[in-house]
């Protein structure tokens, strides 16, 4: 499938370089739009960046204790209390008793609420699917592979920056 062969100094190399150039550019634009879309959704539900991030953490890890959240978000314990209060007030999460340790508080997503939220994505998803019609299934497979690789690269880059 892949071409490889970097040592080619001719017209093919030029074409590839030019393609990469365009890819970076369109990738930049795509990133910008993605961020905008994301923050538009957040704004729509009255969530700030911290709350958004917390919901993502809960999505990925399942229920977490306040201490875990403090660690993962980088907030002080006292701040987590307020954060969870807000999420509860808005209906996105709730406190539940820890099964064994009564000191701890588990915070879990309100699946119901998250589900309702999916309505926002519906016409977007429809647009996406419609837009995909101009791609063959093989091309979509390529896109999947591509997005996977890019996601990984960005993840490591983000980690590098945060350290």
């Amino acid at each position: 499938m892949s071409s490889g062969g970097e040592t080619n100094g001719g017209a093919q190399g030029d074409r590839r370089a030019e393609t990469l150039q365009r890819l970076m550019e369109v990738g930049r634009v795509h990133s910008g739009v993605t961020v905008m879309f994301h923050s538009a959704i957040a704004a729509k539900q009255g969530l700030n960046a911290t709350e958004e991030k917390t919901l993502d953490l809960l999505e990925r890890h399942g229920p977490l204790t306040a201490k875990d959240l403090a660690r993962l978000t980088g907030l002080a314990p006292a701040s987590v209390t307020g954060l969870v209060d807000r999420l509860e007030a808005k209906g996105f999460a709730r406190r539940v008793k820890h099964p064994t340790d009564k000191r701890r508080v588990l915070v879990e997503l309100d699946r119901q609420k998250i589900g309702e939220l999916a309505v926002f994505f519906e016409d977007w998803a429809r647009d996406i699917v419609a837009a995909c019609e101009e791609f063959s299934t093989e091309e979509l497979e390529t896109a999947i592979r591509f997005l996977t690789v890019m996601a990984e690269a960005q993840r490591t880059a983000a980690a590098r920056l945060s350290s």
Copy 2:
């Protein structure tokens, strides 16, 4: 290139549906990572969301007056003064005299500073290019097309949400 043909009720349709399913999933992950990467960069330079957005506006529109910025960001005029003060203090933009109207203030990017900032992206860009080696040039062209289409869909979705 494109397959079309939706009315096929057999195995091919199943495969395509399943592919779309995976595409949505990997797209979701990619979006999340993109947002993280973006905010990691912003944090690294001590920029908040508003400042980030403003730099993006200046990037896209070129120099803007304070009034324009107020309109485009949705901030009150008084807030724009503070915003531009911060951007100036951090070296990302500067006030310049309006050529004809002495009342107005043009805000323009500091290209120098933006350039220095590109250093942050360098090893990231290298990773990207390296990661692209496993794709043929045709596949990259497909990725470009795909990203372009997705960007457009997200742009309209974001606009729909914001209205």
